[in-house]
Subunit: 415 residues, 2 copies
């Protein structure tokens, strides 16, 4: 039997044991993992060093090597994260609804674990610990498939997790790492419907698109972010400038940063030159449509491609619009249904924007950078869903659960 | 441009208009559809007759022809169903959660339409009206792809729906019927990710499996039902008999009927012969494992295939078990995660069964036949989900919605 199938069977078996475990048993396991990570720090750093050296030998970029790197501080951070995860309330067992039918049947809808979660991800070894522990907290078994570039680190981290689980009531088999990092193994996960309840890809656009296109296992799509700020006619100049600068500059590489601003022509004629200067001062390259370049002539011309691009970089496209409707139409055509903001003092514009923009998170007078499980107050984040089924936007622990109807009868039969 | 792509674009455009429509506008459209169905009854019956004649010429079975048939009563039933749908509360716009963050951001989670729903289904023309109107009620556009055997009826029904919508504020393009019923068109729906937000197959196992395996559009799986009743040691004899007979006999062709009973050996030795006689009296063919055949020797031997089969017929497999755990293990191995029942007076058995059986609906001392949107009191049903993401069990109107986060700020930026 292949490594994948063997481990999938073990994970499924572990999942059936996990549903019987209490919140206390799961929390004890999380605490044990935090402790073990610190205790085996030297081993983790030594194994991580092997990945780093291989990456350096391959000429990997400094920023990717930084993402790959474990150090004392990062391992202590992981251990601290376990303490926070223990504190979060356990969604499993929560009674969402309860009612009685005229025939006396008592129906309850309760939260249950999903079962076995598959996770395909790139580079960062901290995702290994994150995914494993969020799944354990919600009573799920997990099959991890990380990238070859972090192979030593991931193997070491899962070994440490197993050492911790051995001391607890949680089955060691609940956390499985697929050590074969070939493309073929990844593809086999896509059709493992008998063993996997959901597949979560975390990584670049290419990875996510491949999983969505090829997986028959249901996917939780955590996606790309081509986000916008629309500056309406009545927008406060300083507020609009602060929000646009923040949403573009504060961390340009992440999905909730913006790529294009849509500016009402009346606001643009008064304030666009100053906004452009503020952005350029922060090192942002601007690309404008024709109307924008009338007002800020020095910037490059934006093309169709710019409207479609998630730069993930200090580049911003600018389009002048005549109405709120035009801004909404542009967002719905080019956006990725992630995070969209309007800056305005006009109630009618707000209402139109909130009703008609099709995205996971809509903001009035705030930066798109808040689309994040921690910023929303969830205390944890599995990812940000850009799909519409099951979970949309920042996903906290409940996104890793399903439900069951529990029906109590006294002998009822259907007429 | 192909018929499919043209209609998909129209549906998407209509969906963007639908989000701006009020509950009153949607309800007025539903009422108009009910009225129009009755007004154009002669036309509908004439078109339906064409399908029936073609089916007869092909030698289609009487039961399939019955499913295909429209008549005055059935059309009046459809019109009555519209009145009931108008009465149901509109989930769209419902505020599910609202909270404030320490930085003053006000976050709301509200229900919104999914967008464009794709529906692939077999034979019955009433699904055309059902799907279209449940989608309209929840603000969704719909692309319908019925079977060739109901082509005339479906075309006529959608024409009548369009005639009704022309008199209302709801765009006619919100309901699209794909008239090309070739397999190729169905397959094209599977990858229409740019236009479809969800695909719902309704029909046989083959259809559903094909959609699940091949669709990159997210699927709401409405599935097969290999359901069980477990009769525990302490089960009341009469209650167990009534529930098993009801769950098998009342309507054997549907997914929430049972296919296998698991009987505790202690109960079996006392009561199985009488239960078997009660079933046989109703015309049920029994197939037993070795232990069962010791007690009721005349029945056929059950094979591995029997445990896996959804008979949809008056056939029932019987397996004797020594413990609740053995019953649970059998259900989790062979069940389709649909509906599972335990008949018992033992609290420990109930707790084990509810915790460990992995299915959408679990029953204590009641028939599995209650897994149904109407029996649950939802007032409508899109289908019964056997998947774990998004919706599980009977799906009412909320299953046709997604959510949005609406965030109100006063200029907040991320630090």
């Amino acid at each position: 039997m292949s490594e994948l199938l063997t481990k999938a069977k073990l994970a499924k078996q572990a999942a059936s044991e996990l549903v019987t475990k209490s919140t206390e048993q799961k929390n004890a396991a999380l605490a044990a993992i935090g402790k073990q990570l610190v205790e085996e720090m030297d081993y983790l750093l030594a194994e991580n060093k092997k990945d780093i050296e291989e990456a350096k030998a391959k000429g990997t970029s400094t920023s990717l090597i930084d993402r790959l790197t474990l150090n004392e501080v990062r391992i202590h951070d992981m251990a601290d994260a376990m303490k926070q995860l223990v504190e979060l309330s356990d969604p499993v067992g929560e009674r969402l609804e309860a009612w009685e039918r005229p025939n006396g049947l008592q129906i309850e809808k309760v939260r249950v674990p999903l079962g076995v979660v598959g996770m395909i991800y790139e580079a960062r070894p901290n995702v290994t610990v994150d995914a494993a522990t969020l799944c354990l907290k919600t009573g799920n078994a997990v099959i991890l498939r990380g990238s070859s570039s972090a192979a030593h680190s991931n193997k070491a981290l899962v070994r440490v997790i197993h050492h911790a689980l051995e001391k607890t009531d949680i089955p060691v088999d609940a956390v499985q790492l697929i050590e074969d990092t070939s493309r073929e193994t990844a593809s086999q996960l896509f059709t493992l419907n008998d063993y996997l309840d959901v597949l979560i890809p975390r990584g670049g656009k290419q990875l996510i698109q491949t999983v969505v296109a090829q997986s028959s296992v249901p996917v939780l799509e955590t996606g790309a972010g081509n986000c916008h700020v629309f500056i309406d006619q009545s927008a406060d100049e300083q507020m609009a400038t602060d929000i646009v600068v923040n949403a573009k500059v504060q961390r340009p590489s992440v999905c909730n940063s913006i790529e294009t601003i849509l500016v009402h022509e009346a606001w643009a004629s008064r304030h666009l030159a100053k906004l452009a200067a503020a952005l350029q001062e922060k090192g942002v390259e601007l690309r404008g449509d024709e109307a924008a370049r009338q007002l800020i002539p020095a910037v490059h011309a934006a093309t169709e491609e710019d409207w479609e691009t998630e730069y993930n970089d200090l580049i911003l496209a600018i389009k002048i619009v005549a109405t709120t409707e035009e801004a909404i139409a542009h967002i719905n055509q080019y956006g990725t249904k992630h995070s969209e903001a309007i800056v305005t003092n006009n109630d009618e514009s707000i209402a139109k924007f909130f009703t008609s923009v099709d995205a996971a998170a809509l903001y009035h007078n705030a930066s798109t950078r808040f689309t994040d499980g921690f910023e929303f107050g969830f205390g944890a984040e599995i990812g940000i869903s850009t799909q519409k089924l099951h979970a949309r936007g920042p996903m906290g622990l409940p996104a890793l659960t399903s439900t069951k109807y529990i029906v109590h009868g006294t002998g009822q039969i259907r007429q």
